[in-house]
Amino acid sequence: MSSPPPWSGSNLLVFEPRPSRPAPRQTVGMIGWLQTNLFNGWFNSIFTVIALGFLWQTVPPILSWAILDAVWTGGSDACPPGYEGACWVFIFNKFRVLMVGLYPGDHLWRPILAGGVFIALALVTVLRILNPKKLIALWFLIPLPIYWLIAGGLGLTAVDQSLWGGLMLSLGLATIGVLISLPLGILLALGRRSNIAVIKAICVGVIEPVRGVPLITILFMASVMMPLFLPVGLNINNLLRVQIGIILFSAAYMAEVVRGGLQAIPLGQYDAAKSLGLNYWKTTALIVLPQALRHVIPSLIGRCIALFKDTTLVIIVGLLDLLGMVKASAQDPEWLGHDAEAYVFCALIFWIICFSMSRYGRSLERQKEEE
């Protein structure tokens, strides 16, 4: 601002940063990779050899059981007792039951269509075709027509809920569970941080007891005890009671995950939003939650995966989800001795769905890191 500094104008040396050199070349090629990753030192070399030996012993038998010696065609007599290969015919035969339970055959197009819509929705989500707002709206809207397709009514023949089962039931319970328990969990988390003592007490009073008991207990209470406390005439069916139990349980956990995210938001963010004249709800919905939820994406996805797997517990209150149908199928007298195939198939389905969720979560995190 004032007079030029004393050194200006004199014959100064001109500083030029020296050009950057390329980074030292890594060891490349197949041999190099092997050396750095498998044989860098005697300790790792021994491990590599042991691991190779282990794989040599285990992979070929698994391959021959699952593929080479497996039975792919025929009827129940195609795989006699004591046969060494996997009997995939059994799975093909039971496929419909595993997918939709006892859903009546002449209405089968309805769960198939519903499944198609669901898969399309999942693809739209993974491929990021829609912006987040529309995507969230879709996830909350689509379950309504899907429910209508499955349950019937309004022009479609009603299909009793006792006939629903298999993967359809697992996915239904898990999807509705996540869709309702996440917003509920967010509200509980916000309530737990509220300055208003009553709201805080209510939220703690919901979260802590629910988190303190196993899901089985909650399902059992929802299924067996809740009818005893409901007023006479108010009859909530078993499936809905179980769904409510799952939602409550999941919401309590989601709430604690979200609370962790809320704690990571610096107080300065609240100060800034307040100082601009924004009220509590706008600050929370537009400044705090978007940041807090991004912080906890990995844990939230973890909760979704856990919830999906937890739905297998509904078997204890008489609902036959995918795992329930697997157990039931394995006991079919016509197909005895095929528990292994049934459980492997069940595990594969669960793994595909859970792994996809986990990969999707990972890609969300990466997107966040890029911003």
């Binding site: 300065g268 963010q269 100060d271 800034a272 307040k274 100082s275 601009l276 004249g277 009220n279």
Partner: protein
């Protein structure tokens, strides 16, 4: 006096954190267009004082009247006053999940219900004023500290505030970035906006302040126009403080 309109009036304001008496009988009047610099050692209550002006902190005794409206528990009043009092923080507090442009248009759109196009036009105008229009589509994390603080100033200006509060705006900046922020603040001061600034930048105080307020132990020790304040401090405490920061 620059003008007879009183923008900020604090009368016998007291505040405690638990048992700690952080503001003691504060009386301060700021007129329209005045520029006040508040200084003092850390823990003297200067940040608390400035945060009481838009009720980021609640005072327990006394009255605070902003442009004719008294700060009470009435939430609507508080939100209205806040939207007319801009604030710039030591740690910028930009919204990291929004772009620079979205940071600037956020409050006009959501607190004032301004149409997006209009809000963006105003935002660009203020970004040009703080000389970083080319950063509009970046995220705060991609900017230097000095740039972030200039964005924060622009964000506050987008609400067209009657009063600007600055809470140690340059304390978190690297030395080479302090000047770019102070330059923007000097320009603002020259445009005649009412400013209250907690700062240790004595050069800034000398150039733009109408009055310098010195605080210690939760009290206003002395208050004077800058020349008198720096050349003839009345209290030993002020003298000691000045000797520490000017040496």
């Amino acid at each position: 006096m620059v003008s007879k309109d009183i923008m900020i009036q604090m009368i016998d304001v007291n505040k405690w954190y638990g048992n700690f008496h952080v503001l003691k009988d504060i009386n301060l009047t700021v007129h329209k267009g005045e520029r006040i610099v508040i200084c003092g050692p850390s823990g003297s209550g200067k940040s608390t004082l400035i945060r009481c002006i838009n009720r980021l902190e609640e005072h327990q005794e006394g009255r605070i009247i902003i442009d004719g409206t008294e700060l009470t528990k009435n939430l609507k009043n508080i939100e209205k006053i806040r939207s007319e009092v801009g604030m710039v923080f030591q740690s910028f507090n930009l919204f990291p999940h929004l772009t620079i442009l979205q940071n600037l248009t956020f409050a006009p759109i959501w607190a004032r219900r301004m149409p997006r196009a209009e809000a963006e036009k105003i935002a660009i105008k203020h970004l040009e004023r703080v000389r970083i229009p080319e950063q509009a589509d970046k995220f705060p994390g991609q900017l230097s500290g000095g740039q972030q603080q200039r964005v924060a100033i622009a964000r506050a200006l987008c609400m067209n505030p009657k009063i600007m509060l600055f809470d140690e705006p340059t304390s978190a900046l690297d030395p080479e970035m302090i000047k770019e922020v102070l330059d923007v603040m000097v320009e603002l001061a020259n445009e005649g906006i009412t400013m209250v600034c907690v700062s240790h930048e004595m050069g800034f105080a000398k150039t733009v302040a109408n009055r310098v307020v010195f605080m210690d132990g939760g009290e206003i020790v002395e208050e004077n126009e800058p020349n008198e304040f720096f050349n003839n401090p009345r209290w030993d405490r002020t003298q000691l403080f000045l000797s520490q920061i000017l040496s």
